[in-house]
């Protein structure tokens, strides 16, 4: 067995002006001890001369040196100060591997891998690391390191800072009172368009793609990975998982990112069981995390979780395999990347030797906040970590075991047991519209073709002025078509094909023509036959649902300031507006992760929608709104408006323009010739009274014609044409192309949900706890109290005099040091 510490970078340059301090090293242990039992203390500088150098075999230009060094048994890499620094240029990539090599096996703790057979470091396994659990690293070290980029530089990151159990966010360090976990990293990758894979980092070459950089401004084509390590409190076992998601085809037609690999998990230890969770209830809905775990008995497990029922598994109890199709990542807008992760650097940072770089990191607080405000959870205000006692929640009541806790006080944070479970299963998934489909009432989901046919039919019927025999019939049909059309609405989402079925396109018992080609025969009106009827999609499911996972909102200060009225949260919801949400109920606690999501339920026929705020599946709030926009169709189609509308739609252009739109009204003189008038009148007179009553417009037009021509006699076509110009009545509205619509207010706003969290900024004086003290409010035997405290309501029983007792009470009230 051999072990190496290797450093690889695309651009390590001693002459660079950008300095990156290498702050980690490690050492190997006695074989055959299991792997690496300790990663050594931090050293700020490293001298490259301590390392041998090699290059990629194919890298003839030797641009990517790899520095490696064999680590002997019990040899600790102590890289002294003042031997020089490792200089790494911005945008470069550094990969640190602490490798254990056995024949045919590859282990690594960082990026990349080592070819164990040839003993040559290679990045060829960069994204093809074997996922067989048996050859994934399982360390016994309590601490470990990784590589990350910060402020355009590459840093090594140290694991093992106590804090909350969290999955990991790039550029952050998290940990747990149960675990000492670590994190990495936002390393850029090379993306090969030909092979559709991310390869080793060659940032200078064509095809290089930026991953999510520290500014979060490179949005597309992720070259990104997260590695997660967790160590049990007893430090007996380290769990490791690695996930990358830049693997292949990034963007599908529906805007969904896919990845073949998996999303990182969160490990946590609770009730003496190791849990792994992630995926469904995180913002990456449906994304399946996979974890390779080694339990205390040395048994490896592979967990794949994707659905809520498999959201949480107990290590060693279940093993689940899920169909790979369920692994699809459904929401992965880059800006939304891992915000379920707690980026806090919690207390007790100074317990490990990373305070140097942590302090450096927070020198420019505004920069950090600027970045994190856009992408991540806010970092903890470093001014809060000024010493003083640890911030502890109710679960860590410092009086436990010290005082008589019969009056146990718990913190103000609610847990899910406090939230009444609501029965959200009783949704109405179909209204009367659908049930009545076969008889009277219904809806069509129109695509470009069917909408065009509808418009063409309407237009065609109204253009048959020169068909003296048939125009009354056409007019009847036109009226039926219009009178039975309740409305046409535009919805700002795509109705799934699962919600409709194809069928005849008939409105008002009037078939929509499949073709409006005029054969010139009277029999044209036989388009009512099957072959002549257009098809359209009949709406069969009224409700469209959409779940927006908002992830987890973690505590920020871990004190009362995390709650209202000091902190507040609000949501902007499209077509609803901005609403306040109860931050006290949605915030996760140290013991309870609360997954927040919005459930949209929208009526496809009306656009009415209800939006439910749910926490761990329970509904806390709901809002109602409507996202439909009415499209004006109660007009005579002769104005060409609808034709224009279909043109816009067919062209795929759905824009928006505000202003005045002219809406043509029905012509008040419908006949283009006297012959047409006479033919119409003849036909009209042949109608039954009931038919005439059903078509009042024809009779009205005849009367108008007779009235307008009684004095002047025949009129010319030109005059008629002028007279038949539609009345233009300007109305304030907006339009899709030339199509008048209404209900634009919601459409004009953002179409994404926005979660807005406001926190106060505290200004905590130095030594606040020593001089002022933190609210305690507990009854305590004073001999059990230590340090500064103020005490009231004491019932003194001692031999002091009245004056002395009074002074004792006065001093206790003002504060004494026990």
């Amino acid at each position: 067995m051999k072990a190496y510490l290797s450093l690889t970078s695309s651009r390590i340059n001693k002459n660079s002006t950008t300095k990156t301090e290498l702050i980690n090293a490690g050492y190997n242990t006695v074989e055959p001890a299991t792997y690496f039992t300790e990663i050594g203390s931090f050293e700020k500088n490293v001298n490259l001369s301590d390392f041998s150098t090699t290059y990629y075999a194919s890298d003839t230009e030797q641009k990517h040196p790899i520095y490696y060094r064999h680590i002997g048994n019990n040899e600790k890499i102590q890289l002294a100060e003042n031997l020089g620094c490792l200089y790494i240029e911005p945008e470069s990539n550094l990969h640190i591997n602490l490798n254990r090599i056995t024949e045919g096996e590859v282990f690594n703790t960082g990026w990349g891998a080592v070819d164990g057979i040839n003993n040559n470091t290679s990045m060829q396994y960069f994204f093809s690391m074997p996922f067989t659990p048996q050859i994934n690293p399982a360390l016994t070290a309590p601490d470990f390191f990784g590589v990350g980029t910060r402020k355009r530089s590459t840093y090594l990151e140290y694991a093992g800072i106590p804090g909350n159990a969290q999955s990991v966010e790039p550029l952050s360090v998290v940990s747990s009172k149960y675990f000492e976990g670590a994190v990495l990293s936002g390393i850029k990758c090379y993306y090969d368009d030909n092979s559709n894979k991310a390869l080793a980092p060659y940032p200078d070459e064509d095809g290089y793609i930026y991953g999510l950089n520290v500014a979060g401004e490179k949005e597309m084509r992720l070259g990104y990975a997260i590695e997660t390590y967790s160590a049990l409190e007893n430090r007996a076992t380290v769990y490791y998982s690695k996930y990358d998601f830049c693997y292949l085809s990034f963007l599908k037609e529906d805007g969904v990112y896919y990845t073949e690999n998996f999303w990182p998990c969160l490990y946590y230890f609770k009730n003496d069981k190791l849990y792994v969770r992630g995926g469904y209830n995180d913002i990456y809905s449906g994304k399946t995390p996979t974890a390779f775990l080694r339990d205390k008995d040395g048994q490896y497990w592979c967990y794949q979780l994707s659905r809520i029922e498999q959201y949480e598994n107990v290590l060693g109890q279940t093993q689940t395999t899920i169909d790979r199709d369920m692994f699809v990542l459904t929401v992965t807008k880059v800006e939304d990347l891992p915000k379920f992760i707690n980026g806090r650097v919690d207390n007790a940072v100074d317990t490990v030797n990373v305070s140097t770089w942590l302090s450096d990191e927070f020198e420019d607080v505004s920069l950090i906040y600027k970045r994190l405000d856009r992408v991540f959870q806010p970092q903890k205000d470093p001014s809060y970590d000024d010493g003083g006692p640890d911030i502890v929640g109710p679960g860590d009541d410092p009086y436990d075991g010290v005082l008589d806790n019969s009056d146990e006080v718990v913190g103000g944070q609610p847990n899910m047991e406090d939230i009444i479970e609501t029965d959200d299963g009783g949704y109405n998934n179909g209204g009367s519209l659908i049930r009545a489909w076969s008889s009277y009432y219904g809806s069509y989901v129109l695509d470009q073709s069917s909408l065009s046919k509808y418009v063409d039919t309407l237009t065609w019927l109204n253009e048959q002025w020169d068909n003296p025999l048939m125009w009354p019939i056409y007019s009847i049909m036109s009226d039926r078509l219009k009178n039975n059309t309740i409305n046409l609405i535009h919805l700002p989402y795509t109705i799934s094909s699962a919600n409709y079925t194809s069928g005849k396109f008939i409105i008002g018992n009037t078939p929509i023509m499949a073709s409006t080609t005029d054969s010139g025969l009277i029999g044209d009106w036989k388009w009512g036959r099957d072959a002549g009827v257009a098809t359209a999609n009949k709406l069969t499911q009224e409700i469209t649902t959409d779940t927006v996972n908002l992830g987890v909102l973690s505590h920020y200060y871990d004190n009362f300031l995390d709650f209202a009225p000091y902190s507040s949260a609000s949501l902007y919801i499209p077509y609803i507006g901005t609403v306040d949400i109860p931050i006290n109920l949605i915030q996760s606690t140290s013991s309870e992760q609360k997954n927040i999501q919005l459930l949209f339920r929208i009526n496809n026929a009306t656009g009415d929608m209800v939006v439910l705020l749910q926490v761990n599946g329970s509904t806390l709030k709901q809002w109602t709104g409507n996202c439909a926009r009415d499209v004006q169709i109660s007009v005579d189609a002769t104005g060409g408006v609808l034709r224009s509308m279909t043109k816009e739609i067919v062209g795929g252009v759905v824009g928006m323009a505000s202003g005045l739109t002219s809406i043509p009204t029905a012509s008040n003189s419908s006949f283009t010739s006297k012959t047409a008038y006479e033919a119409a009148k003849e036909q009209y007179n042949m109608m039954s009274p009931a038919m005439q009553k059903a078509n009042p417009q024809i009779g009205k037009d005849i009367k108008e014609y007779e009235s307008s021509h009684s004095a002047s006699g025949d009129v010319t076509m030109t005059t008629l044409a002028e007279n038949s110009m539609p009345n233009s009545t300007p109305v304030p509205n907006h339009s899709i192309g030339n199509m008048p619509v209404s209900g634009e207010v919601g459409f004009m706003g953002p179409q994404e949900v926005r979660l807005i969290v406001e926190r106060p900024i505290i200004w905590r004086p130095q030594d606040y706890g020593d001089l002022i003290g933190y609210p305690t409010k507990k009854i305590a035997k004073l001999s059990s109290v230590q340090g500064f405290a103020t005490v009231s309501n004491i019932h003194l029983r001692c031999s002091a005099t009245l004056a002395e007792k009074s002074e004792i009470e006065k001093m206790l009230s003002a504060g004494v040091i026990f």
Binding site: Y369, L488, K526, G787, V791, I808
Partner: protein
């Protein structure tokens, strides 16, 4: 009686004082109207003990602060102005589990440096009202597409939509 003098560097409000450099003075109280809480002791001695600031009088059972520097009455005679330290005097003893002092009593701990419940509202903690951390996150919905285009659907609601008599159907 004995008077033990000490050097004390602890805070006045500290219950357990750290005392060192003990000196024992032995004498007799001549003034019978001594105030036990604020005694003034006249001492015949060659030194003024100006670097001492704390005392214990076993016969009084109390510890005392020097409420003022020793005052020289005349050569070889000076006075000690004392004030009782109620905390040190009546804290009780660990041997008796502090049942003989106020440390054996229970009290309502309002604030403390070590046992705070940080979810209790702390009115003393300064909070800047002029600044807020605002964290805005966007989440895609079915209304938005990643490629920038707008999803849409058109729905036409209608009556008499596909059953019954169809006008124009010559099969009727």
């Amino acid at each position: 009686m004995e008077i033990k003098l000490y050097k004390n560097t602890s805070e006045d409000r500290q219950v357990n004082k750290e005392l060192f450099d003990e000196i024992v003075l032995v004498g007799t109280i001549r003034d019978e109207s001594v105030d036990v809480l604020n005694p003034v002791i006249t001492v015949n001695a060659d030194t003024t003990y100006l670097d001492y600031n704390y005392a214990y009088i076993p016969s009084f059972g109390r510890y005392y602060f020097f409420s003022a520097p020793p005052s020289l009455v005349r050569t070889g005679v000076f006075q000690l102005f004392l004030h009782v330290d109620v905390l040190m005097s009546f804290k009780g003893t660990p041997e008796a589990s502090y049942s003989d002092g106020f440390l054996g009593n229970s009290g309502y701990v309002q604030t403390s440096m070590r046992y705070g419940n940080f979810y209790l509202v702390d009115g003393n903690l300064p909070i800047q009202q002029n600044t807020k951390l605002t964290n805005v996150q966007n989440f895609s919905t079915l209304f938005s597409k990643r490629d920038g285009s707008s999803p849409y659907s058109f729905v036409i609601n209608a009556t008499n939509i596909g059953s019954g008599i169809v006008v124009g159907d010559d099969r009727e």
